[in-house]
């Protein structure tokens, strides 16, 4: 394609003219602004390695095409690939890896509505069922109120003979009776009115019971979480993985049925929609995306299922492998490297950086 150095005969002391480094967006390891500026933890690492080795280089973009990037390394079309590439057996058979530079934990993202204690409980109570019951009760109150007024309107004293006032009196009486409050300020005088009153009193017992039961069950359901809260719950949940990633591999290896999604945002969207209940993927990337996009209904569980090491992929017998490895170790052991890690990934996700699992 373009400038590919003559591999095999390069002299380590005189590195090739301009090498091509393939990469693809994998925040926070590789980020690219709209004007084409690359940044991120992996990019920063490579820039420092290249500065150490004084190799001029250029990035070639393979966004959303991890297999294309890895094919290019395998076929020696690029001199190195750096992104969030985990060291895998399958990869090792196709190309070489540098030393690992970051240990990423495999995490579980789940959907969990964040609820403040009081508002959350209230929101949980007023669900569809409860509202329907309240609406039905209210309708019934109005109905009984009108009925009692129709029966009692000709009697002096308790129920006003004018419709507006009288029905209001009737509703008031029906409510007082239903809740067995029984103020006695409105009392039916006719026989029919009293018959209605007795029927209403006993009907009310059942109605109040139904209402209480609905309310009680909505309390319980409101507090229940159908989400996955630990790795043990994965077995009976719909679990997503991103195709050809360590997360999907881990799920398959452990005998879980995986719903594969081509990319991580699409998997996260499926989680938001509730199509799946959990997503197993690289923790630092999950944390970064959820934080960056403000998806507060998603959270990453504290558990770490496994650890995968990110490394630079190099073609087999790459002449720059040795110098890159040496420079990589130098860079990550400098004191300021921890600041870089902290800057991009944050303290919580800095899972045993440079430490073997």
């Amino acid at each position: 394609m373009s400038v590919v150095p003559s591999h095999g005969q390069a002299d380590p002391s005189r590195p090739p003219a301009r090498i091509i480094v393939g990469t693809l967006r994998a925040p926070p390891f590789v980020l690219r602004s709209d004007d084409g500026q690359w940044s991120g933890l992996s990019i920063d690492l490579w820039t420092r390695i290249a500065a150490e080795l004084r190799i001029p280089f250029e990035f070639r973009e393979y966004d959303y095409d991890l297999s294309g990037l890895l094919d290019a390394v395998e076929r020696n079309q690029i001199d190195a690939a750096i992104a969030a590439i985990p060291i895998t057996v399958e990869g090792e058979t196709r190309f070489d890896f540098s030393h690992p530079y970051f240990a990423a934990g495999l995490g579980i993202a789940v959907r969990a509505e964040p609820r403040s204690a009081i508002l959350g409980t209230l929101a949980g109570i007023f669900n569809y069922q409860v509202l329907v019951v309240i609406a039905a009760l209210s309708g019934l109150l109005l109905f009984v109120g009108i009925l009692i007024w129709l029966l009692e309107r000709r009697q002096k004293g308790h129920f006003d003979s004018r419709p507006s006032l009288g029905i209001a009196d009737g509703v008031w009486w029906a409510a007082v009776t239903m809740t067995s409050t029984g103020y006695g300020d409105k009392v039916p005088m006719t026989g029919a009115g009293r018959a209605l009153a007795i029927a209403w009193m006993f009907t009310s017992i059942f109605l109040v019971a139904i209402f209480s039961a609905t309310l009680a069950s909505s309390f319980v359901v409101g507090r229940l979480k159908s989400d996955v809260s630990s790795p043990a719950d994965l077995a009976r949940a719909r679990v997503a993985g991103v195709s050809a990633t360590p997360g999907e591999q881990w799920l398959t290896d452990h005998g879980f049925a995986v719903r594969g999604y081509p990319f991580v945002i699409q998997a996260l969207k499926a989680l938001q929609r509730g199509d799946v209940q959990a997503l197993v993927y690289d923790k630092p990337i999950l944390n970064h995306m959820i934080r960056k996009y403000g998806w507060r209904e998603l959270q990453v569980l504290p558990h770490t299922l496994a650890v995968s090491d990110y490394a630079i992929a190099l073609p087999v017998d790459s002449p720059i492998k040795k110098p890159v490895n040496r420079a990589l170790l130098k860079v990550v052991h400098r004191p300021d490297w921890q600041d870089v890690v902290q800057h991009y990934v944050g303290g919580t996700d800095q899972f045993a950086s440079m430490e073997k699992p």
Binding site: Y64, S164, L165, R273
Partner: protein
């Protein structure tokens, strides 16, 4: 709230007066529409009715909300259709959502036929099709009171592929037809080897299959020996694995075969110079099986669907098409 309190207070203060009023008007109270305590009565009824109304309105809103939820989630855009287009449009969707985290683009394959049918029946927001719409489809849309808008995104070529072990470099339309209708069964008959020919084709409903059928087979049916597969990737994988295989695919799946498959140049007849699928021959139309890839919407697209189509046509989206192996429509001119 203030009305309620006022009404209650007024009512309380006017209570002693009420019996007097009643005496005055007696049985004629129903004829007194605008009386003082009549207004209070309405207010009082309103007070009692307020919680009832609130509950009813709340329940209604909740039912309304639940109804919406059972369909597609709010803000999501459903895209269904061409299997050839699915991988590249999926990448576009990922890029689009990375820029618009509130958007939710759901991509499903199934074939161009499925995509157009779903669009015509209002089941999806955007259809993906790798073939032109038929007049019947346009008429159906017209009968439903809308027009289909199509947005060409890229140029593609249905590429005939063979295993890399196969020495053949070019085929004429006639030879290709003979292979797929079952007139020739061994590569020996085409003087290029001795393997049995294993033809692979796409299943019905595929836009790729319909272009191949229309241009190569004409009216003739596929031979029984032709295996029909659901995706281009499946065809590429089979051809990569079997020395005697031949199949066809859009450009997007070609890369997945690496160097284990090779594209065959096509000649209009045995005399004409065979033409390979290159960006130039695809744009000029010199390659016989070139086509366009479209997104289609019912009427003018709006909101997120519009923004997504615009993204596919932007430099960023077109770059994804180019890297997937297609010829961006922006570079192809009008």
């Amino acid at each position: 709230m203030i009305d309620c309190i006022d009404a209650a207070r007024n009512h309380a203060s006017s209570f002693p007066a009420a019996p007097v009023e009643r005496q005055w008007h007696g049985g004629m109270s129903r004829l007194k529409p605008a009386g003082n305590s009549g207004r209070h009565g309405v207010a009082r009824l309103a007070c009692y009715a307020t919680p009832i109304l609130l509950a009813v309105v709340g329940a209604y809103l909740y039912v309304g909300g639940a109804g919406e939820k059972s369909g597609s989630p709010p803000g999501s855009v459903q895209v269904v259709g061409s299997e050839s287009m699915r991988p590249v449009v999926t990448a576009c969707a990922e890029d689009f959502m990375a820029r618009n985290p509130q958007a939710d683009i759901i991509i499903k394959g199934g074939g161009s036929g499925d995509g157009v049918a779903a669009l015509l029946h209002g089941l999806v927001d955007i259809g993906m099709t790798s073939r032109e719409l038929t007049q019947r489809e346009r008429d159906y849309a017209g009968s439903q009171g809308f027009e289909i808008s199509v947005f060409p995104l890229a140029l593609d070529a249905v590429t005939v592929i063979v295993n890399r072990a196969n020495p053949i470099a070019a085929l004429s339309i006639g030879q290709l037809q003979d292979i797929f209708v079952g007139k020739v069964h061994n590569w020996r008959e085409l003087a290029t080897g001795r393997e049995d020919i294993l033809p692979f084709a796409r299943a019905a409903g595929s836009g790729t299959a319909s272009l191949f059928g229309d241009s190569i087979l004409g009216e003739q049916p596929y031979a029984a020996s032709v295996q029909r597969l659901p995706t281009n990737e499946a065809i590429v994988a089979e051809v990569a694995a079997r020395p005697g295989a031949i199949g066809y695919t859009g450009l997007g799946a070609l890369r997945s075969g690496g160097d284990r498959v090779k594209a065959v140049a096509l000649g209009a007849d045995s005399e004409a110079a065979p033409v390979a699928a290159t960006p130039e021959s695809i744009v000029s139309g010199g390659y016989l099986l070139s086509r366009k890839l479209y997104l289609a919407t019912a009427g003018r697209p709006l909101g997120t669907a519009r923004a997504f189509i615009d993204f596919c046509l932007s430099a960023g989206g077109q770059a994804l098409f180019q890297r997937a192996g297609y010829v961006p429509v922006k570079s192809a001119g009008p």
